[in-house]
Amino acid sequence: MSAPENGVNAETVRKIARLSRLHVAEGRLVPLADELNGILGWIEQLNEVDVDGVEPMTSAVDVSAPLRADQITDGGKRDAVLANAPKSDSGFYVVPRSVE
């Protein structure tokens, strides 16, 4: 397994974990970097494929997106919407304060 061209280090792992909103203990950064590099190194074999002029495939279905009519068919189910909420009050979801 070759080292990936775009290898990650502890700092990259910290950044990715932050973007992913995953708490990673300081001591796990290096082991995680090693793990990810193992996978990324294996993935790098894709560089062998000639993809010049090839369109990326974003879906296995080759039709246009279906469109629906502009009708109100949903909503009015606040109880169902809030039923599983860790915390709710007066019809609102209640979450940790998002501004200082």
């Binding site: 502009d70 606040r78 919407v81 979450v95 998002s98």
Partner: protein
């Protein structure tokens, strides 16, 4: 492309300690599509509902819930694109913009990044104190709105209402073609007029249905471009001007003190009239856009676009030009009368088949004055366009004088009804019976022998007698007839 070549008029330069500065402004306007249901779900969009009552499980980001595109929203985006004289892209695609926030239930916003539904276009704006300016449109794309966070119901928690979550927005991105706060607000005002004329967005800025992100940078006049800052969600034309002024001033002060501008997102505080940074630096954003795998590309038929084109209403600019041409009114009047659809329609009904200039004077003078005084919108005017038109007809055929017409108008404004009904009821019909007028003229001459002599020397004094006769007739005597008879009797 970017028209950086255009240098602002000198009057728009900002004075700094070290010399003059020029403002470079671009806008991203979010216009809420006037649809019944949301962009990707069947929940309602109506404003002001109880929290979380207009939320589907899709809008709440429940596991396994999937988006399906609202056709009407696609149509409105195309319609708006056509109104902006822009390229309509038959192939477009929805992408995910990934970030975490409490009012973003899915953890991503579905937007259009690489392939927007509308490409480049151009509109012309008319700032109040300057020449017409062309503003390039970079793109228009469809995206979903986020929910609403409420911070004042608890000291240490945030309350979240997802009623707005998933509502369809058109993000209209301009090129950085504006050079002054006035141009920026004229641009937003023009956009507002266009979407309202098209019926694609109600343009209500107070409700946040049309709001602007303003990109501002400063440079030496004609010089190299500076670093821009984005001011988010400004929701009135006045605030747009104030925010730009403040932000440009802030940037100039930093640069002149030897500092540099950080590209960042800022917030306009209309209470303190200042902008401030919205996000801390460590929270650098990386939205990781990629095509939404839950949605297939949107592929439109040319006929879909052509059908929309065929039903496109006349836009403010075109209507203004036509009013000048068809009704012979000055460009300024035409601009006022086409500012929005209701005004344009009102004027057009009033002026059709009549003297356009007189109609314009009545609409902009008597009518607007009375509405203003009473605090009533034109849409709710007690005087209908048909009735005002009828009033103008009675002036034209000499049934009433212009002066009496004002009385008729007042009655109309108070209680409604047609001009004919009011004239009949109030006995305001002009006296054209020459015998009756002759008697009144004779009476006036007999009562003022000294004035008769003077008037014979100086015909300009004829007005005195006209006034006397008009007074005696309660304003109903036909002024032309009075004049004629007077002149004959005095031998003039």
């Amino acid at each position: 492309m970017f028209t950086a070549e255009r240098v602002a008029d000198e009057k728009d330069w900002m004075k700094g300690e070290t010399g003059d500065w020029e403002l470079i402004i671009g806008l991203e306007v979010h216009a809420q599509v006037s649809s019944n249901a949301k962009l990707f779900s069947g929940a309602a969009t109506e404003y002001g509902a109880e929290p979380n009552t207009q939320v589907s499980l899709v809008d709440a980001g429940m596991p396994g819930m999937l988006p399906v595109i609202n056709e009407f929203c696609v149509e409105q985006a195309v319609r708006t694109g056509l109104g902006l004289n822009a390229q309509i892209n038959l192939f477009s695609r929805f992408d995910r913009k990934n970030y975490f926030y409490v009012d973003l239930p899915q953890g991503y916003q579905i937007s259009q990044f690489e392939h927007p539904i509308v490409g480049e276009g151009e509109i012309e704006i008319h700032p109040e104190d300057g020449d017409a300016v062309k503003v390039g449109i970079e793109r228009l794309h469809l995206e979903q709105d986020a929910g609403k966070s409420v911070h004042d119901l608890s000291d240490d928690e945030t309350y979240v209402d997802l009623n707005r979550s998933g509502v369809a927005l058109m993000e209209i991105v301009s090129k950085p073609d504006m050079r002054s706060p006035e141009e920026a607000s004229a641009y937003v005002d023009k956009l507002r007029g266009i979407v309202r004329a098209l019926g694609t967005c109600d343009g209500d800025m107070e409700k946040g249905n049309l709001r602007a992100d303003v990109n501002v940078s400063v440079r030496r006049p004609g010089g190299e471009l500076g670093t821009r800052c984005e001011i988010k969600n400004v929701n009135s034309l006045r605030f747009i001007r104030q925010a730009i002024n403040h932000e440009a001033r802030r940037q100039i002060e930093i640069i002149e003190a030897g500092g540099t501008i950080d590209q960042e997102t800022r917030l306009y505080d209309s209470v303190k009239n200042e902008t401030r940074s919205m996000r801390s630096k460590e929270d650098a954003h990386d939205y990781r856009y990629f095509p939404d795998p839950d949605l297939l590309p949107l592929q439109l038929e040319q006929s879909f676009v052509d059908n929309i084109k065929a039903t496109l209403p006349e836009l403010p600019d075109a209507r203004k030009a036509r009013f000048v041409e068809e009704f012979g009114i000055p460009a300024y009047d035409a601009g006022v009368l086409t500012a929005d659809k209701v005004t344009g329609d009102y004027y057009e009904t009033t002026a059709k088949g009549r003297d356009g200039k007189i109609a314009a004077n009545w609409v902009m003078g008597e009518l607007f004055g009375a509405l203003n005084k009473a605090g009533i919108d034109l849409a709710d005017s007690p005087v209908s366009a048909e009735n005002l038109g009828g009033l103008l007809d009675r002036i034209a055929d000499n049934t009433i004088s212009g002066k009496i017409a004002k009385t008729v108008f007042e009655k109309m404004f108070e209680g409604g009804g047609s001009a004919d009904e009011i004239i009949e009821r109030e006995g305001l019909k002009q006296v054209t019976d020459t015998g009756a007028i002759e008697a009144m003229v004779q009476e006036a001459l007999d009562a003022n022998p000294a004035q008769v002599e003077k008037a014979k020397q100086n015909p300009k004094l004829l007005g005195f007698f006209v006034g006397q006769v008009m007074k005696a007739s309660g304003g109903k005597a036909n002024p032309q007839a009075v004049n004629q008879i007077l002149r004959a009797k005095l031998g003039l």
